[in-house]
Symmetry: none
DNA sequence: CATGAATGAGCGTTCATTCAT
DNA sequence: CATGAATGAACGCTCATTCAT
């Protein structure tokens, strides 16, 4: 769960709770994830989570003060896993290579649980943003930013571009999930094409060259 | 609502109810949209809609048999407006030009009500698909497909590419909305860059050339 | 509707309403009866009655101040028809013969609309008893009472016996209706047997002879 | 439900739920019965039941999935009590004697809660018939049938006669309840007279002898 | 700590009734 | 008078949360 690698300088991110009850917490989050992705948000009730987790509703409230806290913890966990995988993938690569590795991990991650990602994204949007979640989202952004800055081609507004790259990846990957796509390699190639193409466009020329020449 | 152009002659688009009470229906849908985008789905109750619309809950149920019907009608309305604007924009343009026009409309549309689009997309996903909604979604896909087929560069798998283009647009536009972006022109240029770049990548070379050359 | 025969000395019982609107009232009551017997009390709403009657809900309230008033009017009408038929049947007969005729009419009446009678009985029970309804119920009781008093065998407590005879008839006839019986003649014979037997028992011996001899 | 021995030593009769919360279930059913018989079906709402039972509406729904389930449970309970009493009364008696005992129990039962029986009968009619309820109704019919078959006088169509006897008892007993009668002995004697008389008529002579001789 | 019975605010929905047209 | 859109109290029911055991 916590993998303090050499390069990522020890972000604890996880309260160890109480080692004994970790199993309960895990069971609860697993149950929440399973309900969300297989029966949808309308079936996602605290009682259902407790039942599927095999614990009493009271125990759920021992570890999570509210239902939203469960959702947040689940988002944290899923984001955390993704972030770790991405970090590991990017660790020894640089520039475009790192970016492609990152895309590979994102695609892989999404196709494993296509519905869950979408739903958690949505839940995340309506939840009052909190510290750790912000940090996690920042983590991904920072990684992409680093990749962009390592590119040979200078990117003009790297922050904006990083956000766009994230949006492109998320959009394509979610769309594929919704359409039921399963071909991981194919999807990865297309996402790579989109990101590569986008970066090529915004670096080769001044932004909006294409757009302004539209009328001619 | 009815756009009797040369080519698409008479699309009445099915007024949901009697003409006389159109004002009430409009008020209800406006209220629903406003609640969804400003307070989120958890505040989206039929009583809240009725109160904000300035009508009684009974009146709401004279025009909509269920709450989901309100949501569906709202989706229909928003999708309809977008589709009309897009159709009009694409009408006299072709190929890349048409595609850029389409992107412009999509960006414009989204930035006007950034949250609403996202939420309705999500609601649409969990609603039992219905005739008209399916048709509307198809409408956008078909328009993009046409644009792709009119490009000078041949696109290998046009259906897939159309879906990807939609996903890229939606992803970037939603992302921008969530980050609170307001610069329509800037966003439009970047989306254009992404779509153009993507299409350039997948047509110039066989798909995955880039990817396979990654290791070199 | 009002059939002032020679012998029954002109009981008007029916406000003529306004001759013109009689058709509307009739349509409303017909609709109410039809809904009650074919779809049950849960489908018996004022709007449904208005729709089936082919009038607006506003018109319904022009003629009936409340929903219960419709029900009461329907009970009145049905009771009135039964009472008239019974009166006519009993008119020229006496004693046992009259009683049997009365049973025949009751059986016939019930088997024509088996569900309606039961439901109206029930509605009647929960409605605040009103003048005319009390009169109608009295009408039947009085007729039976007269029959009993014309019997050769003296009945000890004629009022009580009349009530019992009514209960027996109603009980058997409702039961038959519920079981879906359609053989009018067979049912009539059995009801006659029950009433005849009951009267024989209570007149031949002192009441409870049977009962008290039970222990011996 | 399972009537294993003559003496019926331990009749568990299927507590509908956990033993611990039996008190709550009982309170709910008591409240439901009280509301139905004192204020009528129109006052019989789940909230009213919960309030009178002294529990929250949520608790009601922990024991009963729907309102109809409450009604059914109440019918089951009342029917069950009656059936037990009747079984016990009939246990060591035969033929006419058993029949009279049965009538005594029925009369006693009804006069204790005159309105409730009527209302539950009605509710039962509009509820989707279920296993146990059908069994209970059958129970009474079978008992009567047995009594009839033990009579010295042969009854021609015992099934029909049993149904009629049930109808007569129910009709007289309901009628008495509605009229507010309280004299249990008197009523019992009259019901006995009716049933005895009816059976005498249909066995002594071919059915309808009386009826056919009517014209003479 | 674990349990699950209990709570009650609030949901979606119905329908008897009113009243402006 | 006829109409039917509008009203809103009240219904059946859910579920996040609490707390006595």
């Amino acid at each position: 769960m916590d993998k303090p690698s050499r390069h990522t300088p020890s972000r604890p991110r996880k309260k160890p709770v109480q080692a004994r009850s970790l199993a309960t917490v895990t069971a609860i989050l697993d149950a929440a994830a399973h309900i969300l992705e297989s029966a949808g948000p309308s079936a996602y009730s605290t009682n259902a989570v407790a039942a599927l987790a095999g614990v009493s509703i009271g125990s759920v409230y021992q570890y999570f003060p509210t239902k939203d806290a469960i959702t947040r913890a689940l988002i944290d966990r899923e984001t955390g896993v993704l972030l770790e995988d991405v970090s590991r993938a990017v660790e020894n690569a640089h520039g475009a290579e790192a970016l492609m590795a990152l895309i590979g991990v994102a695609v892989h991650h999404q196709l494993r649980r296509p519905a869950l990602g979408r739903i958690l994204d949505y839940e995340e949007a309506r939840l009052p943003m909190q510290e750790d979640m912000a940090q996690a989202a920042e983590g991904a952004r920072v990684l992409i930013l680093r990749c962009l800055q390592e590119l040979k081609e200078r990117v003009e507004k790297p922050a904006e571009a990083a956000a766009d790259v994230m949006s492109i990846i998320k959009g394509m990957v979610d769309g594929a999930g919704q359409r039921g796509e399963v071909d991981e390699t194919g999807l990865r190639c297309r996402v790579e094409a989109a990101v590569t193409g986008y970066l090529g466009q915004i670096s080769a020329k001044g932004l909006c060259r294409l757009a302004s020449s539209r009328g001619s």
